[in-house]
Symmetry: C2
Subunit: 336 residues, 2 copies
Amino acid sequence: MDKDLILLGHGSGGRLSHQLLSELIIPTLSGIPAEGQNDAAIVTHNGQRFAFTTDSYVVDPIFFPGGNIGSLAVNGTVNDLAMMGARPLYMSVGLILEEGFGRSELAEILATMRQEADVAGIAIITGDTKVVPRGKADRIFINTSGVGILDHELTIGGNCARPGDAVIINGAIGDHGIAVMAQREGLDLQSDIRSDCAALNGLVAEILKEGEAVHVLRDPTRGGVATTIKEIALQSRVGITLREESLPLNGAVKGVCAILGLDPLYVANEGKFLAIIAPQKAEAVLARMRAHPLGRGAAVIGEVTAEKAGRVQMETVVGGMRAVEMLAGEQLPRIC
Amino acid sequence: MDKDLILLGHGSGGRLSHQLLSELIIPTLSGIPAEGQNDAAIVTHNGQRFAFTTDSYVVDPIFFPGGNIGSLAVNGTVNDLAMMGARPLYMSVGLILEEGFGRSELAEILATMRQEADVAGIAIITGDTKVVPRGKADRIFINTSGVGILDHELTIGGNCARPGDAVIINGAIGDHGIAVMAQREGLDLQSDIRSDCAALNGLVAEILKEGEAVHVLRDPTRGGVATTIKEIALQSRVGITLREESLPLNGAVKGVCAILGLDPLYVANEGKFLAIIAPQKAEAVLARMRAHPLGRGAAVIGEVTAEKAGRVQMETVVGGMRAVEMLAGEQLPRIC
């Protein structure tokens, strides 16, 4: 590996991404310390807090079971706002198109975006379109940026997990990554694995009714649950123990992962989030999740500990303990 | 031309861009009518108006005399906010990197972005980085989105030009487009043509002191002065007459344009803007411009008329009149 070149792994969301961000990008552009990094930035105007976030989408293939690059682009940014406890309000759309891209495919992607934006209740109000010559981009890349408003006084963030907290997820992991990979590789799956891509702001609004018990909300996209949990352990300076047997996992995803040697803990999700909740409210949050269409498969998957700050371990089904680290390298490039 | 495919001209900022936007992109995504299109969207919260805008940058080459893709990305979005009369506050940065891109080039671009953001007084507070395999993008694409605040009650927009208004520009046209093109084509120019890339918010703040006399502010980037003026004539349903002899133009740019058969009226600018001003305040605005480092070459270049709504004509130096239309096709691809 040439240390002077950008590698695919620098876009993985895992360890290399974190290195590039913490060594170069964040210190140069903003100087915000790593502990303060969240899915969106929070700013205050006249006592009103707003959230602001951006993401670019380069998924390959652009159409896959359960969605397309457009649904990802809308829901990904809606979810980044929701993870800060913000109500999504406004979205921008920046398109980079390759010369020769099909207008009908573009139309289908845009229609999906509008539909998903309407479902999430966010308004697309500004945009930009660039076209580059053939071979200088891959069909379509989309950037969406989003602005939301915080209707509460809660402090939610990756640095707010406390010992004793429960770690809850709203359903099965790995569906998005495996659906995209299977489509890309032309795998002929007997089972129907679809991306879980969805807007989570409605479900988050339900959970926010539990108020100060809500400490962390974060969606495990690139890098998967393992990387996201490790980030939280580092930011909050706590230990986190996961129980493998509690992890919701669809049988088909489990099967594909086993055959291909993938660990579902590192596979991207687009409709899942981790909620780290004060223990006395864990059951209440779980009940709220299960009452919502996007949370029927919710489960408590672990807990926060005071010991071993910054470390994540998993109690395996066979009874051992293994350390969970961030994704190293690149498991599945261009998954979102 | 296959009507079902995206063409380079759809990213030109000219006629084809307008068609794609008005026929497909805007009706699908937002439904905002064409007359309401400006450089940024305006939204109101608790009586406070905010501006929100986005742009992606795909310039080739990424380094050129007078700037690089990073200075463009910051100043372009700052200027889109400034053109709405907004004070730029916050910016997001979305990077799409090609595998194998040089880390030192990235570092230089990011350092430029921070420097330009500091000059403009905008804070970069959120971001995203994706990496795509070699050959799937061209080194680096940057999206910036920006949020600004309106500190005044003025209504400024492309639909606010009125008959009798003066059309003013803050200096010479075409420098950015010719600087980028000369670098790209390896032209060995005897003269030093540099991009005019700059943040215009400081100069705009000066002009806003003239209050309600300020009707339209717009920066003639892709598509050049001609396309921008035509947009304004259509949005405001007015005629506009330009005087060719008043157009500020550096001799070197004029020379290169003559040799290459380019019309400087269609060449992109990145540090210029058109101000359409009530006639009684035109001299005052001109004086404010000329007192500012970015407006020393300011000039009145034309006026708004009641006749011939939606049409733009230019009094040529030889005394004739010619119609000015939007850029047709693509003059210089990937200019920003």
